[in-house]
């Protein structure tokens, strides 16, 4: 068990986070290997979004450590943090599109900044290509986010997350609000990004079909901790009561229905 390949790409060690008196994460331990697709499931409000925001550094954990390629990134500032951020791509739960600019500028936003920035024409072409991969036509490129439906905003957000082809991607409920056909398109896209581009991905979802179509590994978060973590093939017979209740959507079980 030595050698570079055994160092996980992403590791959360005992991460705790409270907002005021509300304890959200109570010691999350999670590892994701390079080129692996991890899907996080769990009830709403259990801290799934907060978990991935602590990895990206949008939320600072109260305790614990976050490691990328075996190195702690909590203290990263300035250029080392910039270098780190350039490896990340993120789809936010609400899309988080910039409503002051058209769709194509949203998608190629990162590529229009910095020293090696693309020309506007190239950036627009690239945006249209990413839109196509997310199941949206080129006419969408010149619309503003406010003119799109929720599902379309989600897909534009996804196109923006993958536009710069980052190595590590986070997708927060990518298929929420999409019809089943579009959900399949998006699931396949995420799968492709991992398989073809060799990216490492963490996806949050409530949709069991997405779990099956996207995941290599599955982690379930419950009450601020990782309740179960294993390969997707074991999901159906995990033997873990929380998991069983969750994936079958039963009302009775260890997870309270009223939260």
């Amino acid at each position: 068990m030595t050698g570079v390949t055994d160092i996980p790409r992403i590791e959360m060690r005992g991460v705790k986070k409270a907002f005021g008196s509300k304890r959200v994460l109570e010691g999350v331990d999670l590892t994701v290997a390079k080129g692996e697709s991890l899907v996080i499931i769990g009830g709403s409000g259990t801290g799934k979004s907060v978990s991935i925001k602590t990895i990206i550094g949008l939320i600072e954990p109260d305790e614990g450590d976050i490691l990328i390629d075996g190195k702690s990134i909590l203290g990263a500032r300035g250029s080392s943090r910039d270098a780190l951020l350039s490896r990340f791509g993120m789809l936010f739960q609400g899309g988080a599109l910039f409503d002051s600019m058209p769709v194509w500028r949203n998608i190629s936003f990162r590529l229009l900044q910095g020293r090696n920035r693309l020309s506007a024409d190239d950036a627009r072409d690239l945006a249209i290509e990413k839109l196509r991969r997310c199941g949206l036509g080129p006419e969408t490129a010149d619309l503003f986010p406010a003119e799109l439906s929720g599902g379309m905003q989600k897909r534009v957000g996804l196109a923006r997350a993958i536009a710069a082809e980052p190595e590590i991607m986070f997708f927060d409920e990518p298929t929420a609000g999409l019809d089943p056909i579009m959900a399949t398109v998006i699931n396949q896209l995420i799968r492709q990004v991992v398989s073809e581009m060799g990216a490492t991905a963490i996806t949050i979802t409530h949709d069991m079909r997405s779990v099956v179509e996207i995941a290599d590994q599955v982690a379930m978060i419950h009450q601020g901790c990782v309740q179960w973590h294993g390969p997707v093939s074991d999901v159906e017979n995990s033997g873990e009561p929380h998991m069983d209740q969750f994936i079958h959507g039963r009302e009775d079980g260890p997870i309270e229905a009223v939260r």
Binding site: K53, I56, G57, L58, D82, L85, S86, F88, G89, M90, F92, Q93, G94, A96, L97, F98, D99, F109, R110, Q113, G114, R160
Partner: protein, 264 residues
């Protein structure tokens, strides 16, 4: 011992308020420091600065112009009335000019722009905060201080003196219109009296004040929006706080700046 308990909770309330004030002052100081630092360090976003100049400067012209015109006009009437008591009606042109240029142009213009611009900056940044657009900027390797805050600070600090200067001219024109049409001043004499009394220092001190007010306007809008609470309510509160705090800070800093100009 209900009185003792009431007294204790009274003390606790004062303590909480003082602590809250200290925390706000501290976080505002940190925010200001970080923002100013990013104003001077690359990368800059010229397109953003241009957009903000247009929005903060150009589109505030009507508001500032109308405010200045009516203020100058009202001032002319009041000074005429007041001056008549000393048989000194002739001071109208010079006092209107000095009043507009040194005080009312920058202060009233600043307050009007505070209402317009602080509010819209706070609402915009607050909405971006609530809808996670500010977080999204960070994940796209763009520093929100540089991309959002610095351009607004620069634009407001540059635009406000220009607005105040335009306001000065329009305000003096307001006085001129009332003075010549209503109070029987000779047009040529009115203009001569205005010019002969104004000094460079009158104008420059007003413009320096306007620049400080511009900085305050953008700073309060950005600070309140950036730290907006969650939901529509949070954005609403941020907007109100931005206008109120910008207005009060403008009036307070106006007094302090006047003291400094007075002393020198």
């Amino acid at each position: 011992m209900p009185i003792l308990l009431a007294f204790q909770s009274f003390l606790a309330a004062i303590g909480a308020a003082v602590l809250g004030l200290c925390a706000t002052t501290g976080s505002l100081a940190i925010f200001t420091g970080a923002s100013v630092m990013h104003v001077f360090r690359p990368p800059w976003y010229p397109a953003e600065i241009g957009r903000q100049l247009l929005r903060i400067g150009y589109f505030s012209l009507p508001v500032v112009g109308l405010t200045a015109f009516f203020t100058g006009a009202a001032l002319a009437l009041q000074i005429y009335t007041g001056g008549a008591r000393f048989n000194a009606e002739a001071v109208v042109p010079s006092i209107v000019a000095i009043g507009m240029v040194r005080e009312l142009g920058p202060v009233l213009g600043g307050l009007m722009v505070a209402g317009r611009v602080s509010a819209s900056i706070a609402a915009e940044l607050g909405t971006m905060r609530v809808t996670e657009q500010i977080d999204a900027l960070t994940t796209l390797s763009t520093n929100p201080y540089k991309y959002l805050v610095a351009p607004r600070l620069m634009a407001a600090t540059l635009a406000m003196p220009v607005l105040a200067f335009v306001g000065d001219i329009i305000g003096i024109m307001g006085g001129y219109v009332v003075g010549t049409a209503r109070l029987g001043f000779n047009p040529g004499a009115y203009i001569n009296n205005t010019w002969n009394f104004l000094t460079f220092e009158d104008i420059s001190s007003g413009l320096v004040k306007a620049a400080v007010f511009g900085f305050i306007i953008a700073l309060m809008g950005c600070y309140q929006g950036y730290h907006s609470g969650r939901g529509a309510q949070g954005v609403g509160r941020a907007t109100t706080n931005a206008v109120v705090s910008a207005s009060i800070l403008i009036l307070a800093s106006n007094y302090i700046l006047n003291e400094m100009f007075f002393a020198s």
